[in-house]
């Protein structure tokens, strides 16, 4: 089989690998593999560690080899690197994580892992972790004790609170926290007295959450990764699932084998595109023209689902007018660069192969008009009647393992857990659940007004520091920044971020790794680093993208001196004097027990925290997922069907005796009512073909009952299967219950609790029980989805050019929004910046877009510290088209400077490839640790720098924020590339 034959006396070097390398003109990313057998010529001769050192000198153990005496335990956990929720069995011996086995039983991933998932055991080594609390003294990090760190920090926080008010501290929380920690984080900052908190969802899917929730009710993926197996066609627009959600491709490629069509729409020919039946290249930021271009053909050919639109959708006529008037094929081609025939083919494929689904990710969300783009996708799916249908839906892939959960119950600046908002009623609801006095919380805030005013966003905290004080909508500028499980290099405008980091009085980084925050600023003091435990070092629940909630067991004890986030929160609460409120201890009652662990610190009991979440989060059905039910699911994963996620036979959990029959895996929210009501969870949202007690539903009545004289409720006959009310109906409250004559069905105790309440605030769950169980009705009502969202800046989605556009002609035609004065407490600019930079493309002619690599996650501090992953991607790079490279005299794999309109320049390797079209460049966003050409190694704490460091793309990114959610515009900006 050796194709290159050996001739006598001559050994040919043409191995398979080197043949390939020579044959391919441009070098692929793996060619960056250094010191490995991959590099042609260099052969397989490694110049690193001798093999005898293969067995890792383990910081926490005597080595991973199985000793005869050790007790072996299997701990079931979930990968922490994306939202698919891949289960992992960790083999633990004598407290050391010695092996990792696939969990074939998991219905979500069937044992499969990408590079990140296959590497999670490395967390048990953690050689590059932040090992103990540290403090910056004279520009160097010094080790300090936990007690010193906590008491100094408490003193500083309280002093700031006193001198500048509670809003002077910004708390960046995390989507890496489990649900319980994320929830406690929101509770903690509330008790500190501020809404200045946020997490990664702001910069990943905030526009989706807002756009989708305002269209039909809930801000989440409607179906599931698994359900894509039931699709007959899938269109990925702005999603590179093969790299960002690799295991989701198992379901998609399976679907493809059984006949589904796959379409990828993207500015890049991604690895996902390589698997597609049709690839369409659009100009970055032109999603609305493309989607409306599709709708043009759909309306033109009568492919829309007319009955569905009549019964279940409001305002499609307005969309139709806009589409037919503005987005004829010529206008579409001008804006997004796609010829009519291609757009037509996509529309036809989606229409002729129903149910069809749409997948989107950051490619749609990260724009100044992200909220409008995602709604255009929703509108497409509504027009095709694809929402609320198995195999259809909008499959919005979230990024972090618990970004959905942190969005649902975590630290959001504009809402208390469960999207309750910040109104007085919401506060009173949660005060009751928390077992604290409402007035006490109010007293912690600067004022009632500040208590009910959304805080700043993580994308803009730097402006909270740098903006003129008279222009911000709070008393003091930000004086302290706390990065609690969040990287800095995922946010834009690096130059200004560095300045903000140097301006604040105090920086606190609480994280398993020091992160780039520790190294970025040039400071001499005022920085504290606290080592947090990873999710493998604590137990808790996390919500996958499909809303399934999985319980992680604690795999190992926290390494080194690290502590779990919720223990650190409790410690702060205690030192700040609100420990009792934090755990709901009052009147002889205590919601959350606290235990002292062997390492000497106190920790709130995670199960109790989940029970408190269950007790309060009625809006989105986080109430039925008791720890007991979740744990039973984790122990019996094989009971659930891969295609439907449902358990359809009697399966009794041995430990609890719980019968899973009827449940969907992980009780995907909404799982309404009390755990005792045994709602099975909702696999696909808004699905009228099922009874509400079987996971069925309909669109939510959340926007009133009529608009401009037109009813917003669903038409007669359109309702979830078996509902007693066969017309549209509003959400349930005590008045409606009484009107319907159902009030008597509540027990006496329920009646007492539900009096004066609605289904969201009735802590007994009685209203929900009677509506759902007795009458098959949906507690949130039965209404139409909104194609027109009148409370958004553009009720009908309107294409607007990015702030930094390569097309001055189109800026004139499709200008950005007007500037705004106080938006999330900050002045926010649109038109003025766009106008000023209208001709900037003369100097910076290339579109700069960013995205993920399969090996790394997010800011990458964790994954770039993992040698098994770091070896695979050792340098940051810019993808540039051969034409653009040639005209700039750039050769492949050489250093280049990427220059930005902000004046920033970053040094990365060139990767010449047709993956990007001429005029577009791409840089992955996981890198940090270099600053405009210089390695910051010396600025990290000793031994805690990531193995791979590189230039962060966001050092070079520009201004621009979504007009609803403050999402940053990273997917379209401009740059110039020159040889270094």
């Amino acid at each position: 089989m050796l194709l290159t034959k050996k001739s006598a006396g001559q050994v040919q070097k043409s191995t398979f690998a080197s043949t390939i390398n020579r044959a391919v003109g441009t070098v692929d990313r793996r060619a960056f593999l250094k010191r490995s057998g991959m590099v042609a010529g260099a052969g397989a001769f490694a110049s690193q560690l001798p093999f005898s050192m293969m067995q890792k000198a383990n910081a926490a153990s005597s080595g991973p080899m199985v000793a005869a005496d050790g007790k072996m335990e299997i701990k079931r956990t979930v990968c922490t690197h994306c939202s698919v929720g891949c289960a992992v069995d960790a083999v633990v011996q004598n407290g050391v994580w010695v092996r990792q086995e696939p969990v074939f039983d998991s219905p979500l991933n069937l044992g499969a892992h990408c590079a990140k998932g296959a590497s999670v055991r490395e967390h048990g080594h953690g050689e590059h972790r932040l090992k103990y609390p540290m403090k910056l003294v004279n520009g160097k990090y010094q080790r300090i004790s936990w007690d010193q760190a906590m008491s100094e920090l408490t003193e500083k926080f309280l002093a700031l609170r006193k001198s500048s008010g509670p809003d002077s501290v910004y708390w960046v929380g995390s989507s890496k926290h489990n649900n319980e920690q994320a929830y406690l984080m929101r509770k903690f900052v509330s008790m500190f007295g501020t809404n200045n908190t946020d997490h990664q969802a702001r910069i990943c899917h905030s526009t989706t959450v807002a756009g989708v929730a305002n269209t039909w009710g809930y801000g989440a993926m409607t179906n599931s990764y698994n359900d894509m197996q039931n699709a007959k066609c899938a269109m990925y627009i702005g999603s590179n699932a093969a790299e960002a959600h690799p295991v989701s491709m198992l379901h998609m490629l399976h679907a493809k084998e059984t006949g589904a069509k796959m379409i990828v729409v993207d500015p890049r020919f991604t690895r996902t595109a390589a698997k597609a039946d049709q690839f369409v290249r659009i100009r970055s930021g032109s999603d609305i023209p493309f989607l409306f271009g599709m709708l043009y053909h759909i309306f033109n050919n009568g492919w829309e689902d007319k009955k569905y639109l009549n019964d279940r959708v409001f305002g499609m006529d307005k969309i139709r007018d806009e589409v037919m008037k503005k987005w004829n094929p010529k206008a579409v081609e001008e804006a997004c660069g796609v010829p009519e025939a291609e757009v037509y083919k996509v529309a036809e494929t989606m229409a002729m192969n129903r149910p069809s689904t749409v997948v989107w990710c950051m490619g749609q969300t990260q724009h100044t008009i992200g909220n409008a783009m995602v709604r255009a996708s929703c509108i497409l799916q509504l027009a095709l009647g694809n929402v609320g249908v198995s195999g259809g839906g909008t499959n919005i892939f979230r990024g972090h393992d618990n970004v959905q959960g942190a969005t649902d119950v975590g630290p959001n600046p504009d809402s208390l857990p469960g999207y309750y908002g910040l109104a007085e009623g919401s506060w009173k609801h949660w005060a009751k659940v928390w077992n604290v006095d409402y007035d006490w919380i109010k007293g912690q805030y600067a004022s009632k007004a500040m208590m009910e005013k959304p805080g700043m966003t993580v994308s803009r905290w730097i402006d909270g520091v740098l903006e003129k004080n008279e222009l911000i909508d709070q008393d003091s500028n930000l004086k302290a920044i706390v990065y609690w499980g969040h990287a800095p290099n995922s946010q834009t405008r690096g130059l200004e971020m560095k300045k903000a980091m140097e301006t604040v009085e105090l920086m606190v980084i609480i994280d398993p790794y020091p992160t780039a925050s520790a190294a970025m600023p040039d400071r001499k003091d005022g920085v504290y680093l606290l080592p947090a435990a990873t999710q493998f070092e604590c137990a808790g629940s996390c919500t996958a993208s499909n809303r399934s909630i999985q319980w992680r067991e604690k795999v190992i004890e926290p390494l080194f001196e690290s502590r779990p986030d919720h223990a650190i929160m409790y410690d702060f609460a205690k030192r700040m004097g609100f420990a009792d409120q934090f755990v709901g201890k009052r009147d002889g009652k205590q919601n959350i027990a606290v235990v002292k662990v062997a390492a000497g610190y106190e920790e709130p009991v995670v199960e109790d925290v989940l029970r408190e979440i269950n007790k309060g989060t009625w809006t989105i059905g986080y109430t039925g997922q008791s720890p007991e039910r979740l744990k039973a699911h984790m122990r019996n994963m094989d009971a659930f069907d891969v295609r439907t996620l449902r358990c359809t036979k009697d399966v009794i959990d041995k430990e609890t005796g719980y019968n899973m029959n009827g449940d969907y895996f992980g009780l995907p929210w909404p799982c309404y009512g009390t755990p005792e009501m045994k709602h099975p969870g909702s696999p696909n949202l808004y699905d009228t073909s099922k009874h509400v007690m079987e996971g069925g539903g309909n669109f939510r009545a959340n926007f009133g009952v009529e608009r401009d004289g037109v009813s917003l409720l669903a038409e007669d006959g359109s309702h979830s299967l078996g509902a007693d009310i066969t017309t549209g109906y509003p959400e349930f409250d005590h008045v409606l219950m009484k009107k319907l004559g159902w009030w008597a069905e509540l027990t006496e105790a329920e009646q007492k609790a539900a009096e004066g309440k609605n289904w969201k605030t009735d802590l007994s769950g009685g209203i929900i029980r009677v509506a759902m169980k007795n009458h098959g009705c949906h507690p949130f009502g039965n209404a139409k989805a909104r194609a027109v969202v009148w409370n958004f800046p553009d009720p009908v989605p309107i294409h607007r050019e990015p702030i930094y556009s390569p097309r001055p002609d189109l800026v004139a035609k499709y200008p950005s929004h007007d500037d705004r004065k106080a938006f999330w407490r900050l002045p926010t600019l649109y038109k003025s910046v766009q106008e000023k930079n209208k001709d900037i493309s003369k100097q910076f002619p290339l579109i700069l877009t960013s995205g993920r690599l399969v090996e790394y996650e997010g800011g990458g501090d964790e994954t770039r510290s993992n040698p098994w992953l770091a070896e695979l991607q050792q340098e940051n790079f810019v993808e540039i088209n051969p034409k653009d490279a040639e005209s700039r005299g750039i050769k492949n794999n050489q250093f280049v400077w990427v220059q930005s309109p902000t004046g920033a320049k970053i040094k990365v390797k060139s990767q010449i490839t047709e993956r990007v079209a001429s005029g577009t460049t791409f840089i992955p966003f996981h890198f940090a640790g270099w600053w405009q050409g210089a390695d910051l190694l010396d600025k990290y704490p000793n031994g805690a720098a990531p193995i791979v460091r590189g230039e962060a793309v966001n050092t070079a990114t520009t201004y621009g924020y979504d007009s609803v959610t403050m999402m940053q515009e990273t997917k379209t900006t401009l740059c110039q590339v020159v040889a270094a």
């Binding site: 391919v24 560690l49 092996r99 690799p246 490839t913």
Partner: protein
């Protein structure tokens, strides 16, 4: 009689490196030694396909044929293994191997080639099963545990299949039949009509 084989289904492989990382994890393979790696053709262009490559455990293994110290052996199941105690690190096997499978870690102060290392099909080597010596020299012995190679078991899209040739062939066949295509990747059409047959599926 089981005959151990790998197949990589290029229609499914998404070059996620799960296999390469699973291998690193299971055997604690050091930096610079890559028992398994990904090869991509037409990177960034229509027709892009990836394949995971490691030792293919050849029926007629060229490494065995050229080894001057005869350190290679083949198990009953067709897995090609070698004795590191015997290996002299000469590198002949590397030159003979069509897949670039043999890897040579550096040994000693002068950067000399160490003893050859390669994929063992997770079958360990000629030391007592599950002993420290076996793990240190060859990695874990999953086969003796009744498990399959970690790379294939963890493959993100189940592109990489490992196990008894007959079993994995039948899994692969099911997919090809389901797709009603996929053969062409491997067939003469692709070889003689260049990438057109492949590109037929992906138009830009």
């Amino acid at each position: 009689m089981a005959r151990m084989k790998f197949i990589c289904d290029a229609e499914r492989c998404i070059e996620c490196n799960g296999c390469a990382t699973a291998c690193k994890n299971e055997h604690e393979v050091p930096w610079g030694v890559n028992r398994r790696r990904l090869i991509t053709v037409n990177d960034g262009k229509p027709g892009e396909r990836s394949m995971s490559v490691a030792c293919m455990h050849c029926s007629d293994a060229p490494c065995m044929a050229v080894c001057p110290v005869d350190c290679f052996y083949k198990t009953e199941e067709g897995v090609v293994l070698h004795d590191k105690d015997l290996c002299i690190g000469c590198g002949y096997c590397f030159y003979a191997c069509p897949f670039g499978a043999p890897q040579f870690p550096q040994a000693g102060a002068f950067g000399l080639r160490g003893k050859m290392d390669k994929c063992t099909f997770c079958a360990g080597g000629p030391e007592e099963n599950h002993s420290k010596a076996e793990f240190t020299k060859y990695g874990r012995n999953r086969i003796a545990e009744g498990k399959l190679p970690a790379c294939a078991e963890m493959c993100s899209t189940k592109a990489l299949l490992a196990g008894d040739g007959a079993v994995i062939e039948s899994i692969y066949k099911t997919r090809v039949q389901r797709r009603g295509k996929g053969d062409e990747i491997w067939g003469w059409a692709m070889a003689y009509k260049r990438g057109d047959a492949v590109a037929a599926g992906v138009k830009s």
